[in-house]
């Protein structure tokens, strides 16, 4: 099954001329053709273009040319990353016709590495949501159960990788939008340290929290993709000028003696029994491999969700002020004057959840409420970060569930925003503290995938990768695929 091979397997086969890049991309294109109507992972499909590029890879190889490191690997991007001359909607009516005049840095880097883009994936509008149901374009189904959501906001990327419609995909993670859908779809998902990956060309949601990360079918691929997307970029002044190690090296060093903190707050009320059991089993596996696991406390966890919704909505209300119907995107047809044009354009162009966040953020930043909400939330942020710092004095990593539940039913939480927000309760603190974290499949509950989350020190992605790789090698979960 070509379409379920990992990027590193495909890479080796192309180089050994066992399979051509053309065959690989064609198998993924066929898979999209067959499944897209049922899964709904893509907003825009660029498989034809990908095929042309793959044929060029094969040509180059036939002529004995040197191939770039990821030549011919079928790749998908969340539709909030700008792709020059390819429509980028952000899942929103207000950008339904936007064709970027430039490319996001991550896309440029992947193209340089030889990747071929098969499509732009579905997402909650402006990445605001946990189920991809807030997309103004279409619904995405969970490949493991079509009546359930794939998680969100990068639900399309997760579903595409889980169902063999791309070898890997990129998503963005502001409060769990890579890790939560990765857990719910049974694939590996990582949010690198804030600043590790350039956000240049990523449509902004909450600038102090947003970070791009990969969805892959195993941990080795996660390391491989990270090697090609990380690094300082002078076009993103918040990207970190920190050395990027080779994430593939030391992969197999194991976790004997590694100190693992298990935060008791992440196993409290709201967690499904099946999720608790699978994650507890996984911790047993880590101990079996020689890791030292102890219960630890992150006492301000309970306040993270509140702080997150204030900070992220405040930043969003400011970032989304740019959608005014003048330079790009949708403009209302009927209006009386300039201000009315802004109001009508925005009210018609944005969906319900986006308007809710803009309202919440505007309120939190408005005169008289700023100190009680925004400033207070930033102080809570300091405390949450201090919680992690304290644990990381004695521990190398933290292990916990990625999401409190398995994939929920479509429509189950759409009428209750707070319930929807709670599905990110274990992923949000990581964004608030800017840390790297990774979700790896750790079994099934009710026939649906469960994710184990590893959280690491700033810029210690390699430690997370090493731990997740060791765990993955001792299980078979990453080799299981949904019956789509």
């Amino acid at each position: 099954m070509l379409h379920y091979m990992t990027a590193h397997e495909l890479n080796a086969k192309i180089r050994e001329r066992e399979i051509s890049a053309g065959e690989i991309v064609r198998s993924v294109a066929d898979r999209i053709e067959k499944l897209e109507d049922r899964v709904g992972a893509y907003i825009t499909i660029t498989a034809d273009r990908a095929l042309e590029e793959a044929l060029r890879v094969d040509d180059a190889l036939a002529r004995g040319g040197k191939l770039p490191p990821l030549a011919g690997i079928p790749t998908a991007l969340k539709d909030n990353m700008c792709t020059e001359n390819i429509r980028t909607t952000c899942g929103s009516g207000i950008l339904h016709n936007f064709v970027p005049p430039y490319s996001a840095r991550v896309y440029e880097k992947l193209v340089q590495a030889g990747c071929v883009l098969v499509g732009k994936t579905n997402m909650d509008e402006f990445a605001m949501g946990s189920s991809t149901e807030n997309s103004s374009i279409k619904r995405t189904c969970n490949p493991w159960d079509s009546e359930r959501v794939p998680g969100g906001s990068s639900g399309g990327s997760a579903a595409a990788v889980a169902s063999g419609m791309a070898a890997f995909a990129l998503g963005s993670d502001t409060g769990g939008s890579v890790r939560q859908p990765a857990a719910l779809c049974g694939v590996v998902g990582m949010k690198p340290t804030y600043g590790r990956v350039s956000r240049y060309g990523l449509v902004a949601f909450a600038s102090s929290l947003d970070q791009i990360g990969p969805f892959t079918r195993d941990v080795r691929d996660c390391a491989l993709v990270l090697n090609h997307i990380c690094g300082y970029d002078r076009y993103d002044s918040t990207s970190a000028d920190v050395e990027v190690p080779d994430f593939m090296s030391g992969l197999e060093r194991g976790i004997k003696g590694m100190r693992v903190g298990i935060p008791s707050e992440y196993f409290g009320k709201g967690i499904e029994e099946g999720v608790r059991e699978r994650v507890t089993d996984a911790i047993g596996v880590l101990e079996g491999m020689g890791a030292v696991c102890d219960e630890v406390s992150l006492p301000h966890t309970d306040y993270a969700l509140s702080a997150y919704y204030i900070i992220s909505s405040a930043e969003a209300s400011s970032n989304l002020a740019r959608y005014d119907g003048i330079r790009y995107g949708y403009r209302a047809q009927d209006y009386s004057d300039l201000v009315d044009m802004f109001v009508k354009t925005r009210s018609e162009g944005f969906g319900e959840e986006v308007k809710r966040r803009i309202m919440l953020g505007t309120y939190a930043l408005s005169s008289g409420y700023y100190d009680a909400y925004y400033k207070k939330a930033q102080k809570i942020r300091t405390l949450i970060k201090a919680d992690f710092d304290r644990v990381f004095k004695d521990y190398d990593i933290i292990a916990c569930p990625t999401s409190p539940t398995v994939a929920f039913r479509a429509g189950e939480k759409t009428d209750d925003p707070l319930q929807m927000y709670l599905s990110d309760v274990y992923t949000i603190p990581v964004n608030i503290a800017g840390l790297p974290a990774l979700s790896v499949p750790c079994g099934f509950s009710q026939g649906l995938p469960v994710g184990l989350q590893f959280i690491g020190k700033p810029f210690a992605e390699h430690t997370l990768i090493r731990a997740a790789y060791a765990y993955e090698r001792s299980t078979e979960f990453h080799k299981m695929h949904p019956q789509v």
Binding site: I310, R327, R346, L360, I380, L418
Partner: protein, 93 residues
Amino acid sequence: MITKKDVEYVAALARLEFSEEEKEEFKKTLGDILEYAQRISEVDTEKVEPTAHILPINNVYREDKVEPSMDREKILKNAPDSHKGCFRVPRVI
């Protein structure tokens, strides 16, 4: 906790407008979310400094050097309305 007047005030600041029905809906959902968010007021933060940004970055400067920018025509292709190389908007003055 949130009144209809609050909703209208914030909507005006955010350049949004809502039907009467939507305003009622916002009164409820925004009120619920803010009530939940209020739980942070329990925490004593008297001596805590706020964190705006997780990395120790302040202003980032660069040389003031002229470099090529994006193609004007290409950018204007996305504009809902343009005229002679400019974005066109309703009369302001």
